[in-house]
């Protein structure tokens, strides 16, 4: 059989299209290689080495990891972070969701309310941490005199090892508007037809919430939980500002030595880059594990609308 001497041009339509696609996404590909893949591999290597930037890295094998597992401060920082997450996530979920439900009603001036509640989220950072330090100040602050009005003797808040964490959680709740707005978006995505159907079936307010609203917004709750968990491990600015103003980074009795803070100290205070890199990789594994765990468990409690479509 003779082969036809027909040569396809190299730049076929589909090749040309691929070429354009890769041309347009090239900034990200370059950035991904230079600022993500490269650094990740390098930090994996550093985590097995002794490295202080000045001298060449020296291979240590698993020593950094072994030392970490023996380091009481490492465990303390994990415990602090998990403790924060265990207080901040549920409180943020309840309050944020509650506010979203209120702001989803047709009340006068609803846009103004939404704006007000979201406001603290746009000024997060150093200024907010400084502001709350002053509010929590047991001597000249705002909160304790207020509590005294109700006959409560306020604690030392950020200066008290037992109360520093609740103080940070309160500070965190002030910015609840951020997650509230996401819950609100979820609530607005619930088709009104479902409520009408439930009403026709005689469901009362509570039943409509429990059997319609809640299942429909579980994907959003799920999203917020995952992001909140990752956020807890990134928590830094507030504790750094509060700690360094109090002359005590990590808080009283290291009660606010967050994981990211300890990592920062190892990397940029002691310049123990190998040790800090090992912490970073353990963090990555923790985040991966938690995300997978939530994903897995989500199958039992997260409800996606697509499932309904599939079944009907």
């Amino acid at each position: 059989m003779e082969r036809q001497s027909y040569r396809r041009p190299f730049w076929t339509m589909s090749r040309r299209e691929s070429g354009w696609a890769y041309f347009f996404i090239s900034p990200w590909i370059i950035g991904f290689i230079v600022f993500t893949v490269g650094p990740m591999l390098a930090s994996l290597f550093f985590s097995f080495a002794d490295y202080n930037i000045v001298d060449a890295p020296r291979w240590l094998g698993l020593a950094n990891y072994r030392n970490l597992f023996k380091d009481p401060l490492f465990w303390k920082s994990l415990q602090v972070t998990v403790y924060f997450a265990s207080l901040a996530l549920p409180s943020g979920l309840l309050l944020g969701f509650f506010l979203a439900i209120l702001l989803n009603k047709k009340i006068p001036g609803v846009n103004l309310w939404r704006t007000l509640y979201y406001l603290p989220s746009v000024i997060a950072g150093v200024a907010v941490a400084l502001l709350w330090m002053r509010i929590f100040n047991p001597r000249i602050g705002l909160l304790n005199p207020l509590l005294a009005e109700f006959g409560i003797k306020g604690p030392g808040w950020l200066q008290d090892p037992d109360w520093a964490m609740p103080a940070l959680v309160i500070m965190n709740l002030w910015g609840v508007g951020g997650s509230m707005i996401i819950y609100l978006a979820g609530l607005q995505g619930v088709p009104t037809a479902l409520y009408d159907a439930a009403r026709v079936d005689g469901a009362n307010l509570w039943q409509r919430f429990w059997h319609v609203t809640l299942p429909m917004v579980t994907p959003v709750i799920f999203y917020n939980l995952v992001m909140g968990l990752i956020g807890a491990f990134q928590y830094f600015t507030q504790v750094y500002v509060v700690g360094s103003a109090g002359g005590n980074v990590g808080g009283p009795a290291r009660s606010t030595l967050f994981y990211n803070l300890y990592l920062y100290q190892n990397a940029f205070k002691y310049f123990d880059m190998g040790y800090a890199s090992a912490m970073a990789w353990i963090l990555l594994l923790i985040v991966l594990f938690l995300t997978l765990l939530i994903f897995r468990s989500s199958e039992t409690w997260v409800y996606y609308e697509g499932e309904l479509k599939g079944r009907v």
Binding site: A21, P39, K105, I107, P108, I123, Q234, V287
Partner: protein, 349 residues
């Protein structure tokens, strides 16, 4: 005769009205709680050291009114004497919480009264001079300029690169493109710490540490959040518009510049605003990369200032106000972006 009964419909109406009322009430209380810290920040920035020492701190900048009695400054009180309310100065403290009050116009006649029963006179006293003082006692102007450079140059880079990448992901078919998009999305979950240290080393080796470049240059290589958001928006631009441009002989670059970018303006504005808020408040990376005083951004300058001069709470508060006001203004002018657009597409995509 049939008695008049309330229809169940009216009951539902009353119930709804009640719910709305309670909702508004709860929201109003919450709004006050949200706003008090901000009011407190502003009022603190207008106080002097004397006013700062007061406990509980008043929510507005007020000061006790003083009056001159026999050549001495004495606090003025609203007192009740002989059944009449008068203004008198407290000139001496006595045991058992009592004090000697006199009328400033007639200081000879003294009254012994319980101090706790009298109301000290106060007046509005705002120290606006805190602002120039705060802005000049550290090179705050320099910090503002640095922050603006980082914010706006970075924003330009982010807009250019992210919109290009988003266009690439929204309009073309190519092998592995979907996989790459998944990879892009997964980087949202990636904790930045695993890249941080080698990036620091990299920037150190090229001599960029202690310059603004490490904060700006990476912005020119797109980021997952903004690409994702822009792509979601670009997908809603009708393909017919691309086709029309192509039939007119436009290349994909021209289509991108003259069709997609103009059509995608709302989304571009939204990511630009969000980028501003993020870059303006960013603390971690400036803290790591910027070492010398002259290079700091406002966030780092404010933090260092507060750690060094904790007694100057009023100046710290003034600097804080200067830092948060641009964000608040931007927020009010573009609040729809925050409270409607962005997150909706962010979640539902």
């Amino acid at each position: 005769m049939a008695t008049l009964t309330r229809s169940p419909l009216a009951d539902v109406k009353i119930q709804e009205l009640l719910i709305k009322g309670i909702t508004t009430l709860i929201l109003a209380v919450g709004a006050v709680i949200i706003l008090i810290p901000l009011v407190f920040m502003f009022s603190t920035s207008l106080k002097d050291r004397n006013q700062l020492r007061r406990s509980p701190p008043p929510l507005i900048p007020i000061e006790y009114t003083m009056v001159e009695v026999n050549g001495k400054e004495e606090p003025l009180y609203q007192v009740t004497v002989e059944g009449r309310s008068r203004r008198m100065a407290l000139v001496r403290n006595l045991p058992d919480g009592k004090g000697v009050f006199v009328d400033p116009a007639n200081p000879e006649r003294e009254f012994e009264l319980l101090i706790a029963d009298q109301k000290p006179m106060q007046h509005w006293e705002a120290h606006w001079e805190n602002y120039p003082e705060a802005l000049t006692s550290v090179p705050f102007g320099r910090y503002l300029i640095n922050t603006c450079i980082v914010t706006f140059v970075g924003m330009a880079g982010m807009l250019m690169s992210s919109s290009m990448v988003a266009y690439g992901f929204s309009r073309f078919r190519a092998p592995w493109l979907n996989v790459l998009f998944m990879v892009l999305l997964s980087t949202i979950m990636l904790p930045s710490q695993v890249r941080l240290i080698p990036m620091y080393v990299l920037f150190q080796k090229v001599g960029w540490v202690d310059t603004l470049l490490p904060l700006i240059v990476p912005q020119f290589f797109a980021n997952a959040y903004d690409v994702f958001f822009l792509r979601q928006f670009f997908m809603t631009i009708p393909l017919e518009m691309d086709d029309a441009a192509r039939i007119d002989g436009a290349s994909p670059i021209q289509t991108f510049l003259y069709v997609i970018l103009p059509q995608g303006r709302p989304a571009l504005v939204a990511v630009a605003v969000l980028h501003f808020i993020w870059a303006w408040n960013d603390f971690y990376e400036p803290l790591i990369y910027l070492h010398s005083r002259q290079k700091w951004t406002v966030a780092v300058g404010l933090q260092t200032f507060s750690a060094l001069y904790a007694v100057n709470t009023h100046l710290i508060a003034a600097a804080s106000v200067v830092m948060v006001v641009p964000c608040i203004l931007l927020f009010f002018f573009s609040q729809r972006i925050f409270t409607q657009g962005v997150v909706v597409s962010g979640v539902k995509g």
